[in-house]
C-alpha cells in the first residue's frame, strides 16, 4: 500500500483489497511496509532512497506472490527505478530486480495478469480518466485502466484532450515550483470541466490530491475518485 493512501486516502486501500477479494484472491497487507522510496529518489537523494528501498526489500523479498500497488507512480518506482538505486552486481540489486518482476500496478494486474475487465462495479456517470505520467509512460498502461472504466456499469468514459499532459504534481516539484505546478493543474482542470465529466478518475491518488486542492482553492470543487474506488463501487440500493 502506498504511504499516501495509508495516511490520506485509506478508502483507496480498502477498496483495492475489496476488489481483489471479490475476485477470489487472498490478499495480505504486511504492516511492516512503509514507503516505496520515491520521494527521496525524485529529490535526487539516492542514499536516503536506498535506505527506504532496502527496508521495502527486507519486507517483500522473501515472498513469491505478486505485489499489487494502487499507484502507477509507486509501481514504476518499484519496477523501474528501484534496482538502479543499488550498485551493479550487488546482491541488493539482484533482489530488487526479482521483486520488480512481482510488482503490478492495479489495472495492469487486473487486465494483464488476471484477464479481468469487469469488476462488477456500477456508477451512473460521465467519467474522465486522467493518465498519470508514470503509469502511462513508464509502465505503458494506456488502455488497461480505460478498459476497466468502460466495463463499469452505467459509466460513460469521456476522453480529455491532451490526456497525456502532466497535471503538474511531480512530487517535490509541486512545492519547489508551486506556481508552475498550479498553473499546469489549472489547465488540466479547465479541460476536465470542458469535458462535461461528473467524475475524474486516475490511478494515482497524488494527481487527484493536487487537482482537487487547486479546484477547492479556486472555489470550484471537482469530484475525484481513485480507480480502485470506482472499481469497487456497487450499485446504490435505494432505501
Amino acid at each position: 500500500m502506498t504511504c499516501l493512501v495509508d495516511q490520506f486516502f485509506p478508502r483507496v486501500g480498502l477498496d483495492t483489497v475489496q476488489i481483489l477479494e471479490r475476485l477470489g484472491l487472498e490478499v495480505h497487507f504486511d504492516p511492516r511496509q512503509t514507503c516505496c522510496s520515491q520521494p527521496a529518489h525524485n529529490a535526487g537523494l539516492q542514499a536516503e532512497a536506498a535506505r527506504v528501498a532496502g527496508h521495502f526489500l527486507d519486507v517483500y523479498a522473501a515472498g513469491r506472490e505478486p505485489i499489487v500497488v494502487p499507484s502507477g507512480s509507486c509501481a514504476a518506482m518499484l519496477k523501474v527505478a528501484l534496482p538502479r538505486l543499488f550498485g551493479e552486481g550487488s546482491s541488493r540489486r539482484d533482489q530488487a530486480r526479482q521483486v520488480a518482476e512481482r510488482v503490478w500496478e492495479l489495472s495492469d494486474f487486473l487486465v494483464n495478469r488476471l484477464g479481468v475487465e469487469s469488476t462488477g462495479a456500477a456508477l451512473e456517470a460521465r467519467v474522465a480518466y486522467h493518465d498519470s505520467c508514470h503509469s502511462l509512460r513508464e509502465l505503458g498502461l494506456r488502455e488497461e485502466p480505460r478498459r476497466l472504466v468502460r466495463a463499469v456499469l452505467g459509466v460513460e468514459l469521456v476522453e480529455l484532450p491532451n490526456s497525456d499532459r502532466c497535471c503538474g504534481f511531480g512530487g517535490t516539484f509541486s512545492v519547489d515550483f508551486p506556481e508552475i505546478s498550479v498553473s499546469l493543474g489549472r489547465e488540466k482542470l479547465d479541460r476536465i470541466r470542458a469535458s462535461g465529466a461528473d467524475w475524474v478518475v486516475a490511478s494515482d491518488a497524488s494527481c487527484l490530491m493536487h487537482l482537487e486542492s487547486i479546484a477547492r482553492a479556486c472555489g470550484q470543487p471537482i469530484r475525484t475518485m481513485h480507480l480502485a474506488e470506482l472499481l469497487a463501487r456497487r450499485r446504490e440500493v435505494p432505501a
Partner: protein, 469 residues
C-alpha cells in the same frame, strides 16, 4: 556562454507565468508544432526502429569519439579544407577572430548556430566586426537585443505583431502583420549583407566522418548563401555532432526534421564538402572547420551523464515539456533550455552555475518519449539533482532543511515502529504545519488547499477489518 552568478530559474519562471503575451505566443506556436510533429511521426510506421538505430549509432560513435573525429579531420583535409580544434569557448571564439583578422575581413554573415550562442561568438565578434544573423528567427532576436528562446525557433517567444513592431522601430519599415512582408523586408536587408560579406559562419547538424561531409538543415536558404557567397566559410561544431557515415543520414534526417518542425523534409538540406574545387562553378575558395569541445570531453567521461551528448538539437523535448510550454525558454537564462537545457547547462557550466535547472521538471517523462534518440532525460535530471544537493557552499541550491528532513524521513521509513510513530506525530503536527510561514506546506498552499490526513490510516482500518468488529 558563462555567467558568473548562478542562473535563477525559479524567480524568472514566476515572471514568465505572469506574462500573458508570452504565454499566448507559446501556446499558439507550440500547439501548431506539436500537432505537425505528431502527424509527421505517425506517418512513419518504423519510427521506433529509426529511434533505436539512431540511438545505437550515436552511443557507438561516442564510445569511439576520438577515432571518429580523426577520421573526419582526415577526410576534410583531403578535400582541401582546414580543421582547427578548440578546447574552450574562449579558444573557439579567438580562432574565429584570428581567421578574420589575418585576412582583414570585417564583414561576417552568420547562419543559425546554437554552438555559437553557447560560446558567446556574437558577443566576441561584434566588438570589432560587423556580424549579421541571417536566419530569420535569429535576425529578429539579434534585432531585439535578445537571445534565442528555443533550439529551432529562436524567436518563438515573440508574436507576429511584436516582430512587426520591432521591424518598424529598428528598421523603420512598415510591414503590417503580414508574414510575407516581414520576410521580404528581412530578405532585402540580408541580401545586401550577403553581397558584402567576406566570411560566412554556419553551425553543423551532422558531420559524416567517412566523407568529410557537413550537413546543415534549414528552411530559408540562408545557410546555403552564408556558405557559398563569402570568400571564407567557417563551420563550427561541437565534437559530439560527428556521425560515422554519410549513409547514416537516412536515419538521422527523418528523425531530426520530423521531430523538429514536423516537416517531411526541410526546404534545404545542405551537404558541404570543403572549399570550391577547380572544376566547380561556385563555393567558397576557403573552408575551415572548427571542432569545439567546451566541456564535452568531461561529459563523455561521466557514465551517468554521457548520453546527454547523443542530442541532435531537434527541440522536440522543449515542445512537449509542460514546464517549457508554461514559461518559455528565457526563464532558464541559459543557451540551452527546456529539458535538454536542464540537463546540459549544469554539465557544461557546472552544477553550481545552474543549480535550479535539474529541479525544473515534474519528471513526467514526455521529453524522453519525444526524444528521437531516446536520451533518458528524467534519469539524468534525478542524477544531477543529487549532485546539486551534495555540493557545499554558496552555489548549492537547497530547499532549507530538505536534506535533513529526508534523512529523518528515511530513518523513520526504514523501521515499522518508527514509521507508525511518524504517522501519528505528523497527524498531530499537521495543524501546525499549516501555520508555518515557510516550508513545504506553505508552498503547497500557494493556489491549493492543504489536504488533511484521514482520521485513521489504512493500516489501522485494515487491522480492524481483519480482526472483525
Amino acid at each position: 556562454m558563462k555567467t558568473t552568478t548562478p542562473l535563477r530559474f525559479r524567480s524568472n519562471s514566476r515572471e514568465a507565468l505572469n506574462d500573458r503575451q508570452l504565454r499566448d505566443n507559446l501556446r499558439h506556436t507550440l500547439g501548431k508544432t506539436l500537432h505537425s510533429r505528431e502527424a509527421a511521426v505517425a506517418e512513419l510506421p518504423h519510427w521506433e526502429q529509426l529511434r533505436r538505430h539512431a540511438r545505437a549509432v550515436k552511443l557507438h560513435t561516442l564510445s569511439r569519439l576520438g577515432r571518429t573525429l580523426r577520421r573526419l579531420e582526415a577526410a576534410v583535409l583531403e578535400r582541401g579544407g582546414t580543421v582547427l580544434w578548440a578546447e574552450t569557448a574562449a579558444q573557439a571564439t579567438q580562432l574565429v577572430l584570428d581567421l578574420a583578422h589575418r585576412r582583414d575581413f570585417t564583414r561576417i554573415v552568420k547562419s543559425k548556430s546554437m554552438l555559437g550562442e553557447e560560446i558567446g561568438l556574437n558577443e566576441a565578434l561584434e566588438r570589432r566586426l560587423e556580424v549579421v544573423e541571417t536566419d530569420l528567427g535569429e535576425f529578429v532576436v539579434q534585432l531585439a537585443g535578445q537571445r534565442p528562446s528555443h533550439l529551432v525557433a529562436p524567436a518563438l517567444h515573440l508574436s507576429r505583431a511584436q516582430v512587426a513592431a520591432l521591424f518598424e522601430e529598428k528598421l523603420e519599415v512598415s510591414v503590417g502583420q503580414d508574414v510575407e512582408r516581414i520576410t521580404a523586408a528581412a530578405r532585402s536587408i540580408m541580401r545586401r549583407h550577403f553581397q558584402r560579406a567576406q566570411m560566412g559562419i554556419t553551425g553543423v547538424n551532422f558531420a559524416a566522418a567517412d566523407s568529410g561531409t557537413l550537413v546543415v538543415v534549414e528552411n530559408e536558404g540562408n545557410a546555403r548563401l552564408s556558405v557559398s557567397v563569402p570568400r571564407l566559410h567557417v563551420a563550427i561544431m561541437g565534437i559530439e555532432k560527428v556521425i560515422p557515415r554519410l549513409a547514416d543520414l537516412s536515419v538521422f534526417l527523418p528523425l531530426l526534421i520530423r521531430s523538429a518542425t514536423g516537416q517531411r523534409i526541410t526546404s534545404y538540406v545542405d551537404l558541404i564538402q570543403g572549399p570550391r574545387r577547380p572544376d566547380e562553378p561556385d563555393g567558397p575558395p576557403e573552408f575551415v572547420l572548427i571542432l569545439v569541445d567546451n566541456g564535452r570531453s568531461r561529459i563523455l567521461a561521466d557514465p551517468a551523464l554521457r548520453e546527454t551528448l547523443a542530442c541532435i538539437r531537434c527541440g522536440a523535448c522543449q515542445n512537449v515539456c509542460p514546464v517549457f510550454q508554461s514559461v518559455g525558454g528565457h526563464a532558464y537564462g541559459s543557451t540551452y533550455q527546456g529539458p535538454i537545457g536542464a540537463i546540459l547547462t549544469p554539465q557544461l557550466d557546472g552544477v553550481g552555475q545552474a543549480p535550479e535547472h535539474p529541479f525544473a521538471s515534474s519528471l513526467c517523462g514526455a521529453c524522453r518519449e519525444a526524444c528521437p534518440v531516446g536520451i533518458p532525460i528524467p534519469e539524468i535530471l534525478v542524477e544531477l539533482r543529487g549532485r546539486v544537493q551534495s555540493r557545499k557552499g554558496a552555489q548549492a541550491w537547497r530547499i532549507p532543511g530538505r536534506k535533513w528532513a529526508f534523512a529523518l524521513w528515511a530513518w523513520c521509513c526504514s523501521s515499522p515502529g518508527r514509521y507508525r510513530r511518524l504517522l501519528r506525530l505528523s497527524r498531530r503536527l499537521w495543524p501546525l504545519a499549516e501555520r508555518l510561514p515557510r516550508g513545504a506546506a506553505r508552498s503547497w498552499s500557494l493556489g491549493r488547499t492543504l489536504p488533511h490526513p484521514a482520521p485513521r490510516p489504512f493500516r489501522d482500518l485494515y487491522r480492524d477489518r481483519k480482526e472483525g468488529p
